[in-house]
Point group: C2
Chain length 316, copies 2
DNA sequence: TAGCTTCATAGCAAAATGCTATACAAGCGG
DNA sequence: CCGCTTGTATAGCATTTTGCTATGAAGCTA
């Protein structure tokens, strides 16, 4: 007993509007069209849906039950239309963002929150990815956007990279660390403390290698590795350990005052944080909106950093 | 932007089945039919719903969102079909029962419970009506069944009355009432106690008038009136008041032992409790089932009463 | 009972839907 | 890398459905 969904919708409209003519008008149809639909539905069902010879129109119990389903069909249909509208305007839908863990935790998660204060109907699915997986995920349409630091731009065609912040790493430690009292730090000062290692495969890991070389040490005393940003910060706050972190990540934590910058010059990576996406990919207006939001947020952040640095010699 | 609901359903089926051909099969259609539907939907939406040139078929985010709506449409449609099936078998739907208050409270409410243990998907809407309103409600299709005591069967055509229990009233009082100790009660013994009056307009009210006449008193000492069955029983249990009640109603309360029958013969009404319904009315299989259940329940009750009376001279 | 309003039916044109047959494209194994 | 397999898109056609206008029938109200 398969019923015609259109008929169910018309039934619902008629009951809600209180008459065939009104229901037809509500759907933008003529009265005879709806009248026939009801007759066909009734014939299909084999039971009366209306009490005959009654004005104003009165539905049977079965009529009410079917109308209830018709109503949910109407609702679903309108939701579908709304989803399309919202998708095109970028005010609805799902944005899947992959990113390197520390930046996601330190900055992007906040920006997602800000963004959703403006666009509450956009859902964001965050995932943690480093460059290789990110490229694969973009190509496989698993994510719309990637947040990643990239050096040489040799990703081939089909990808677009929007720079949002120049890469700049620092050595981080807890406030009150004994090294902060030294006027001029030497390399061997740093090697006498334990270090936190970033995740293997992350850009920071190769940066740590660079520092190692510049310091001239073949290996550091690494006692902790694998933690997320919160873990690392918690760890740094409790110990005298040192870690290589992006400056902006530490800057974003300035209000909490749990980590600070050790004034020691380290070699800087030739790399920028940016938004990676497919250029030939599918339209995803909500993702574009989010990308724009992230871009302007970082633009603002850059100014804030500059003002901050002018005001105080931060980290000393 | 009005989308075709059928297309949305097909989209959902295709995504759930994992392919156009499988989705088509699931809906009992051919692959080209569904393929074209998807193309039309995509054209209407103006955005791709599938990632092109990918096998296995991969939907876009928008495709997923629309499919979700399609899925609810499919569900609603199936629910509508189920509602029809259930209606015809009498296993689904709404039964609206009107009845005289005391019988509804004493017996029918229990039977509704029993019935729904067998037919959990039938909803029952109970209302309290006396005969005139009940006839109007049946004619106006506000209720399917009425439970009412009727004397002369002059309801005109279009109504059907199924007798379920002969009318038999008794005088009720609390167990331990002083009158129960009297061997032979006289009329004036009863008039020296206060009485509970039934609701005005109820059959019991006219029965009370009859008793009044048989006792030869022009008025009784009425101190309480208007209560539902529970109120009346609570009242009787607390006082030495007397009340005219249908025997079966008191019998139904025998386990609680809060009211009992005073062994005094009163004139019996020429009236039977029964189920009233429209004969030319709409089919209502669930209501028929319920009516059958009530009928057999009362049939059983009649036997139980008989056995009970054989075993003990009840009420003394 | 007359008149008004509202629903049902008739008849027709246009669109949508379904089918079969066939062309096309993506993955896969040799 | 080529052909094979599998699955999707397109073509063409018959049928059904859907929409409209015009008109008839039926309740309600005065």
């Amino acid at each position: 007993m398969k019923l015609n969904e259109r008929h169910l919708m018309q039934l619902a409209a008629v009951l809600d509007a209180g008459g065939v003519s009104e229901g037809a008008a509500m759907l933008g149809l003529t009265q005879p069209a709806v009248s026939r639909s009801l007759a066909m539905l009734e014939a299909r069902v084999g039971e009366p849906l209306f009490v005959k010879g009654r004005r104003p129109l009165q539905a049977t119990q079965l009529g009410f039950q079917l109308a209830a389903q018709g109503r949910t069909i109407i609702t679903a249909s309108r939701k579908a239309s709304d989803a399309v509208q919202g998708f095109m305007k970028g005010t609805k839908g799902v944005v899947r963002v992959g990113g390197v863990p520390f930046f996601m935790d330190a900055m992007i998660s906040r920006m997602i929150g800000e963004f959703q204060n403006l666009e509450p109907e956009v859902t964001v699915q965050q995932s943690y990815l480093n460059l290789p997986e990110m490229v694969a995920a973009l190509e496989g349409n698993q994510i719309e956007l990637g947040i990643v630091p990239i050096g040489v731009l040799d990703l081939g065609p089909g990808f677009e990279f929007t720079e949002i912040l120049p890469g700049r790493n620092i050595v981080a430690c807890r406030p009150g660390h004994s090294l902060l009292r030294n006027r001029r730090l030497r390399a061997h000062d740093l090697t006498s403390f334990p270090w936190v290692a970033p995740l293997p495969g992350s850009p920071l890991m190769s940066d740590l290698q660079m520092i190692l070389m510049s310091i001239g040490m073949s290996d550091l005393n690494i006692r902790y590795s694998g933690g997320s940003l919160m873990s690392v910060i918690n760890y740094l706050a409790e110990t005298d350990a040192l870690a290589v972190l992006p400056f902006s990540v530490v800057f974003a934590q300035r209000k909490e005052n749990r980590v600070t910058v050790l004034p020691y010059e380290i070699p800087q990576p030739n790399r920028s944080l940016g938004i990676l996406r497919r250029v030939g990919g599918l339209r995803a207006p909500a993702a574009e909106r989010f990308a724009a939001h992230v871009t302007t947020s970082f633009e603002n952040l850059r100014h804030i950093i500059k003002r901050h640095e002018n005001a105080v010699v931060w980290g000393r």
